[in-house]
């Protein structure tokens, strides 16, 4: 039965795939949402023109982005159960409406020079679109790709990283055309809202959930004796999942991994400049921008490459790599200092690839431990670790760098303490990963012994 709150056309039952539906239509549906909402990371393009035209401080001009990230965490955490209940089409539609109307409200705010409307529109309304959109395709992708869940979620979450790559030059070009005054910013926001609405509509129209019991052609679920011990065949509800130590171990490891990555990401340009300022080959503004781009590439490709690798070597092993090799890379940076620029670039690229990989692999880790039943909702709750890390990472690096600068230090010495803090955090994350064990069966959802056997449906729609 359709809930009163959900229009019939968006109901989960209306988005069940018809016979012959290809699962390869689902990743582009997911990407159309993630590539759009990934625009959030390109907010900095709007900061200088907003500061000049509306006479804002740097802190104030960052407010829409910060509120959007807070709303992302909150809406993913609290909206996850709704997303599971109402299905991916409903979630993608909500994301489209919120994200696009956020831009339209912000456009009105810029046109009327009412900055609070920009904050409300982009930050609050748009931020809800970010959170709901981020988790909207996760459980659907895992159900369509039971044979390669890491790769499937890796594609979508890579899209979130790729969104800023598209939006950053596109928004900058638009501001150049319309002008950097409030009227030009308003027009740019308006175009963003309209174009993203059209772009995201592909996801709403294309996304389908597999019929009950569907499995890829030629694939059979591995027998319990052959699967890795951490892969469970049982389901755990979101409500029960947060009562398990496994959920909190994953929360800690995600928080540590993200904090370590954000620490570099947030200060990449000044960091590389400071590191090599006293050497024979200092890094200029242009090269620093290139360094930021290299890190974005590592972050994005790590989401796909490492997450796909996790399908082969297992989730626990891949997090051992992220956290262990990440800690070693930080250690090399601390010891080598500014001795070698290629070594510094290589280590930071590795750390950022592990940062991206950590994000992209976590849905598949959750699926292994808690099953597919409410994996989207559990993922939403886990993203509060991201919000926490988003505050912790920049706070640590900035506070330490400021304190070292006040003490008269320069070059790599500005960052040595924070680099060692990151090593410590990654070790904590490593230990949390080692503590992950199979979920106690008392948390499993009961299976109805008298439930009618579901016909196994394979790719192509033929009942087997």
């Amino acid at each position: 039965m359709t809930s009163w709150a959900v229009p019939d056309v968006l109901d989960r039952s209306r988005s069940v795939a018809p016979p012959g539906w290809s699962r390869w239509l689902v990743p582009p549906a997911a990407l159309s949402i993630h590539l759009a909402i990934g625009q959030a990371y390109a907010w900095s393009v709007f900061k200088p023109p907003l500061e000049t035209s509306l006479h804002l401080s740097g802190t104030l001009s960052a407010l829409p982005f910060q509120l959007a990230i807070v709303m992302l965490g909150l809406s993913a955490a609290f909206g996850g159960t709704l997303v599971e209940r109402n299905g991916p089409r409903w979630a993608m539609c909500v994301s489209l409406i919120c994200f696009s109307s956020g831009f339209l409200i912000a456009s009105l705010g810029a046109a009327t020079r009412q900055y609070w409307l920009v904050v409300l529109g982009y930050g609050f309304v748009g931020g809800i679109g970010l959170g709901v959109g981020y988790i909207s395709p996760v459980s659907t992708l895992i159900k369509w790709f039971p044979d390669r869940p890491g790769m499937a979620t890796g594609i979508a979450i890579m899209g979130f990283g790729g969104g800023a790559l598209i939006a950053s030059p596109w928004s900058a070009q638009m501001l150049k055309s319309f002008g950097p005054d409030s009227s030009g910013i308003a027009q740019a926001f308006l175009v963003h809202g309209l174009v993203y609405a059209v772009f995201m509509s592909l996801g709403v129209l294309l996304v389908r959930v597999p019929p009950d019991g569907w499995k890829p052609a030629g694939w059979t679920a591995p027998a319990p004796s052959t699967v890795r011990p951490l892969i469970s065949g049982a389901d755990v509800s979101a409500r029960n999942a947060i009562r398990t130590p496994q959920f909190w171990c994953l929360w800690v490891l995600l928080c540590c991994n993200v904090t370590a990555g954000i620490g570099i990401l947030e200060k990449a340009a000044p960091m590389v400049t400071d590191f090599f300022s006293g050497t024979s080959a200092p890094v200029g503004i242009s090269a620093a921008a290139g360094f930021v781009a290299v890190l974005s590439l590592a972050n994005m490709s790590g989401r796909f490459v490492w997450s796909s690798t996790s399908d082969l070597i297992g989730r626990k092993n891949v997090y051992r790599l992220y956290l262990g090799a990440g800690a070693l890379s930080y250690l090399v940076i601390a010891i080598a200092g500014n001795a070698s620029k290629p070594l510094f670039i290589l280590c930071t690229m590795l750390i950022l690839s592990f940062y991206g990989g950590g994000f992209a692999t976590i849905p598949a880790y959750l699926k292994d431990l808690f099953g597919t039943y409410q994996v989207g909702a559990i993922h939403g709750r886990l993203l509060t670790a991201w919000s926490t890390a988003g505050v912790l990472g920049p706070l640590i690096v900035n506070a330490v760098a400021d304190a070292q600068k006040s003490a008269g230090r320069t070059g790599p010495a500005l960052y040595t303490v924070s680099v060692y803090i990151m090593v410590g955090l990654l070790v904590v994350g490593f230990v949390a990963n080692e503590l992950v064990r199979p979920v106690n069966p008392r948390f499993h959802e009961p299976t109805a012994p008298d439930a009618p056997a579901r016909a196994a449906v394979t790719e192509g729609g033929a009942a087997a």
């Binding site: 290809s22 598209i166 592909l202 781009a293 290299v294 590439l297 192509g460």
Partner: protein, 40 residues
């Protein structure tokens, strides 16, 4: 009588182009910036 299964290949191509083309543009712009690291 079973209904014939539709050929979804054109839709798959269109869907991947829809997301692939903007992504390729983003990668191209990124490549231009990466080059600055080695020339700047």
């Amino acid at each position: 009588m079973s209904t014939p299964v539709k050929d979804r290949r054109p839709l798959i191509v269109l869907a991947w182009l829809w997301v692939g083309l903007p992504f390729a543009y983003g990668l191209y712009e990124l490549g231009l910036k990466v080059a600055k690291l080695f020339s700047g």
